[in-house]
Amino acid sequence: MINVQNLTKSFTTHVKEPGLKGSLKSLIKRDKKTKFALNGVNLQIKQGEIVGLIGANGAGKTTLIKILAGIVHPTSGEATVLGYKPWQRDNRYRKQMSLIMGQKAQVWWDLPALDSFILLKEIYQIDNFTYKKNLEFLSDTLMIKDQLKIQVRRLSLGERMKVELMAALLHNPRVIFLDEPTIGLDISAQKAVREFMKNYQVEFKPITILTSHYMADIQELCPRIVIIKEGQFVYDGSLSKVQRMLGDNKVLSVTTEKEIFQLEVPRTELSIKTKEIFENHNVLDLNIQDPSIENIIESIMRNGLGPP
């Protein structure tokens, strides 16, 4: 179980005026700027639940994950994961947790993955039977058996992510933090990772927090989403609910002799708008659709939960 109460994290950075004058001034005195990466957030997640954390770059998603993984200390507030304060880095907690960062390799680059796995077996004190069973299961499911003896740096991006997943799951973690696991992967690799995580979640039921900029990841894996904007949660609930809440609009895709354009109009004004379009343009094609989930999320991130 994850329980987060009024969690705040601020970072202080130095700011420098541009130009030579600014550089000289900064030799004597530097101005500081404090930014709140998280500003009093609350969150509860039950065992077996998978939650999608969505937000723009710099919204605070990764900071939350880093705090819950025990990498970063919060400025104030409380958080417990499986009953432990993550930043106290109790080994009993760390043995039950895994973090996968799509932009940061955790296996050792200069060695074949199997060498890293042997070390992880010792670090996590995995018994031989479990190690062999998990290695077999993960390499079969991820279809990466043949690549495990090749230096990690020589693997493709997709293969590397599969290796990262294997390294992170060898010790049967009860809590998994996935920070943009599909970033930079091609469509088929993204699909493979998604498919794997979906099946893994069903079979092993860990607590999982996933951040991703790819809505396909969120749609496929996360029945519950949390939208974070400038360090605060603006929505915490089911994905389908947010679609219903902001799904009162329709998107009209219009192809005329001269141009192709899209219009987002309230459902109640649909017939009037359609009539206007037919009166003012020589319409070749007209398509009426629900707004995409990307547009809905983007709208929430831009305007909050008010009308788009």
């Binding site: 043995k95 070390l119 670090i123």
Partner: protein
Amino acid sequence: MNWWRHVMAMEIRKILAYRSDFWIIFLGQTAVQLVIATALWKSIFETQGTIQMNGFTLPMMTLYYLIVPIGMRMLTGENIGFISREIYDGSFNRYLIYPLSVFQYKAVTYLTYSLFYGVQLILLFSIYQFTMIDVTPTLMTFVHLFEGVALFLISATTYVLMAMLIELLALWADNIWTLVVMLRFFTSFFGGGFIPLAFFPLWAREILVFTPFPYLVSLPVRTVMGQSSSIEITLGIVVLLCWSFFFMGCVALMWNKGQKNYSGVGI
């Protein structure tokens, strides 16, 4: 604690993955330093018109400068910036999520490199013993060699703690490169890596005896050459251990304070 054997084995595999580096560093760097030092000291001996200076003959001086570069590598390891670089680029995260002590892990990887350079020292010694004409009036034996290598490993433990202190400043400062380089320079200079300590003025030697520096470089090198007494070695080990405990306390204090500043890079 079984993991440390595997960390050492893995580090050795990493080193061996780039075997050309091993030979380039061993042969190239050692040869360059040897040629420069020999030419320099030969000219000094000739100018002075003497065959012995401060207890060193030219062959002994040559041997001293043959051991120093490898000894310095044993001491300073491979990874300059071995913690700060990872703090700056965020790869330090990895050690915080594993159920082990980050500093134990770092010390083990560091000492693996030291041990590996110890192998180079043994190799060099063997080549020297079996190929060079014995013109060196020293008591150099394999026993002294292994004593010296062991002493270098103890001094490397002290040095890694000193280096950790500097490296951890990366939790506050944006760049600590200059400090890391200064630590290396001071260690080499005050440890007798550039000029043997016998050439330092007496007052300087009397001050240095209270610092860890002479025991980091000069003592192990002289031990390999068979020129240190067992009392000197014992005293050196005691001093190094005292400094190690002091630095260990400082590292723990700094980490307790500094870890709150660690951002793991990015928001």
